[in-house]
Amino acid sequence: MSLEVREFIKPFVSVSEDLYYFSKQAKKNGEMVAGFMCTYSPQELFHAAGYFPVRIIGKDGGTPLADQWLQPYACSFAKSVLNMGLSGDYPFLDLMVFSHTCDTMQNLADVWRRRVNGPPVIIVSTPNLSAGDLSLTYLKRELTRVKEEVEKISGNKIADDKLLNSINLYNKHRDNMKLLYDMRRKSPTLITGTEMFAIVLSSFVMKKEEHNKLLEELIQQLEKMAPENIAKPKILVGGSVCQAQGFIQTIESSGALVCDDDLCMGSRAYVIPSVPEGDPIEMLAQMYLLRIPCPAIHKPGYDPAGPYIDKIKAGNIDGVIFLQTKFCDPYGFNYPYLRKRLEQEGIPSLLLEVEQNQPVAESFHTRVEAFIETLSAK
């Protein structure tokens, strides 16, 4: 990639140095910041109320404070976030939002509410059954309740047109990200997987308005680039990790290219579809029910292998690496079926158990290298 195009990637990459830089700046400027845990959080609602919504992520390190309140078999992501909350590491938050997804998240929400000295907590009761009229009615009522609570806490009324604007802004952002993913499927060398993840990560901690602008500038540059041939194996990374940066970097430094993903902090964050304009709460309810579900949500008739197979075909993927966070049951339940389907399609895969509060282990590196060696031998 040329030096000029590199310049358009820099602002995304620099975010990793201080994830909450923009949050802290916003706070300094007297703005309100809302932290959310999950892509089922209706960020558009908080945005319309005047908040800067940022995704809450953990960090490397032990979790002694969290270990007091969470059982040993809670995932390292939940423990890390709780530990940071208990340590006062998110001082910029004016609101903390949890969603009703997996067991650990549900309990984390309650533990946080009781134990963390911090901002007000909202728990969005996302229905586990993600289809049908009952779910729609339920979610509409729930989103209305959340809207009223946010209005009370923020002191700002969420007018319909404001909410519509926020929905449109977020839709535009998702379209841009989906376009970028598509461009990479067709021409994987445009940007590396590591750079792509930096763009994804920054999209969660940067204002959407700003991120959209940077995205559009980058896409313009990338559209001018000619596709290159690549001799490295092309990998799709799936799984249940939030901070995948280190893992993706290790995979790419072992001689492969991460061309696509099925990650929550990845392509699954942008699967919320646009719906015809109408009552904005109704729109939000539709959007969040129609979306491709996460493993903790049940959607009758949905085939979790579908997105994998589609992406593998679209990108000529050579192999799949699953990053399985230890103790993530929902993803773990999907895995045997996913593996079997991949085997049926003749796609090699590797399952790696990882932790989200530790640097990438040497053992990870060896397994990834060995897997890539088998792909290169084909």
């Binding site: 072992s254 001689g255 060696e373 088998t374």
Partner: protein
């Protein structure tokens, strides 16, 4: 005399191994030394030893392939390849019908399923837990006041086998001491320890799916007690090569030869980075 030679270096966390082969893939020399925390020095030592044994000068060594824990830091390597791929290759070279490799080393164990053509199909590694590795047996030998090398014979000759219920090396050590205090015989305990190691490895093998014929490699393959127990538990005979510890280094050397043959013109001995 062969036109040129190739060296495979398997630098593990417990031992460093070197194998020197000629341009037809025949093993000329091999060497094993404890790593003792010195990856570079032990690599250099075993490399020099095989060259001395084979009476081969540096200039005649056309490629050095490194594998194992220390594979990336060896400065004059041509290429580094993971121990998974190298063990598979070494096993296939030694016995082409092998479909499954069980490698129990000093600090890790691995199970590898091979395709019919000897390529790696799937693998599992245990490098988190000492149980099921050579380390387990080392610790227990010390606790029992015997030599590691005596354990195999002792286990085979014992007609009793103590039940070791702890899965953790640290707790198993305490359990062994209790057994001694209770008057259990050392050979029976040793047999129990060999069974314990085999049960750990069985789990690792089952995750991949065992397909015979099975080859066992690594230092622990020299322990007849473990070989017997593992064979009993897996319900398959295990093929143990003459020198089970050097299979990884052998595989590395063979892959080096293949690399040379693929590039028809002579290749410089270069340090390749990925």
């Amino acid at each position: 005399m062969s036109e040129y030679f190739v060296i495979g270096l398997d630098i593990g966390s417990a031992t460093a191994k070197a194998v020197l082969i000629d341009n037809e893939g025949k093993k000329i020399a091999s060497s094993i030394r404890p790593t003792a925390g010195r990856l570079l020095q032990s690599a250099e030592t075993v490399k020099r030893e095989v060259m001395e044994q084979a009476k081969v000068n540096e200039e005649l060594v056309k490629a050095i392939i490194t594998t194992g824990y220390g594979r990336d830091i060896i400065p004059d390597k041509t290429k580094s390849i993971t121990e998974i791929t190298c063990h598979a290759r070494g096993a296939h070279e030694t016995e082409p019908t092998i479909r499954f490799v069980i490698d129990i080393g000093g600090q890790d164990s691995k199970t590898i399923l091979l395709d019919i053509d000897g390529q790696v199909n799937r693998f599992e590694m245990n490098d988190k837990c000492a149980a099921g590795t050579g380390r387990f047996l080392e610790v227990m030998a010390r606790t029992l006041g015997i030599h590691l090398d005596e354990m195999g014979e002792m286990a085979v000759k014992s007609d009793k086998t103590s039940r070791i219920s702890s899965t953790c090396t640290v707790f198993a050590e305490s359990e062994v001491i209790s057994l001694l205090a209770q008057g259990e015989e050392i050979p029976a305990i040793v047999s129990g320890l060999c069974r314990a190691v085999s049960e750990r490895v069985q789990g690792l093998a089952a995750r991949v799916g065992v397909v015979p014929p099975i080859m066992m490699t690594g230092g622990v393959a020299k322990n007849k007690g473990v070989v017997n127990w593992l064979s009993k538990i897996l319900k398959h005979e295990l093929i143990v090569p003459e020198e089970p510890q050097i299979i990884g280094a052998l595989g590395a050397a063979i892959m080096g030869l293949e690399l040379i043959n693929k590039n028809n013109d002579s290749i410089q001995k270069i340090t390749q980075s990925k």
